[in-house]
């Protein structure tokens, strides 16, 4: 594994999170285009991130909680302020 691979692997998760500077993005991208083994690692880690999101987004708020929030939003301010 060359120096470029090591550097790229160190920056990989920050790259996936879109938190690198433009210059760093260009250098990581250039390396991934050139290096299929690193590109495979990238593909896998990016998919793991998508997987976490997908699996966790299946829990929607229960209807009664949603209704409760809607009522709160529609409420006249004064009543709840006194309660608080």
């Amino acid at each position: 594994m060359g120096d470029h691979c090591e550097q790229t692997m160190r920056k990989l998760s920050v790259y996936i999170d879109r938190e690198l500077s433009d210059a760093e993005v260009r250098s990581v991208k250039a390396h991934l285009d050139d290096c299929p083994p690193c590109e495979k690692v990238f593909d896998f880690q990016a998919e793991m991130k998508r997987l976490v999101r997908k699996e966790c987004c299946t829990d929607d708020a229960p209807a009664r909680l949603r209704d409760w929030v809607r009522q709160l939003a529609a409420e006249k301010p004064s009543a709840r302020d006194r309660e608080a």
Binding site: S13, E47, E55, C56, L65, L72, P77, R80
Partner: protein
Amino acid sequence: MDSDFSLFERHVDALYRSALRLTRKPEDAEDLVQETYLRAYRYRNRFKPGTNEKAWLFTIMTNVFRNRLRQRPAPTEPLDQPGTDFSIYDQLRREGMPVHLMSPEEIIVERGFGDEVKRALEELPLPMRMVVVLVDVEDFSYKEVASILGIKIGTVMSRLHRGRQALQKKLWEYSGRPKARPVAVGAH
């Protein structure tokens, strides 16, 4: 200003699913979200219109949650441990799986890693779990997470790094692989 409160309504699913990852119990999650909205309502005049209302709500929720935890700590909270470098990908390659010939989706489905994500996430120590949820599930930037949790960006990054490795290690263990050995990150 008061009528703007309806702006906050749309984040109820995001708050609830994150509350569920933090508390691990539907009734506690619902309660946490309610208290978050009550506080947001009470302090709605402190919200600066035009700024990120989702980040504002999450700041309130994580504060409420941490206060609750201080008052009555959950007995089963996992402790924060020093992480060892771990990656499912490296581990599969070591096992001789032809990972270079498979798509990530194929690997994940074949090994059943997807089925246990929530459980694995909920077993991470809280500081890591919060950061992984905020970045990977809620799509906040590092800067936003630093502000929500009141920590440095460097701390966000190190918790995220350790959290993701710990998550992969748990997924690996749950999916019935032999117990993990530490490997170098990204070694080909």
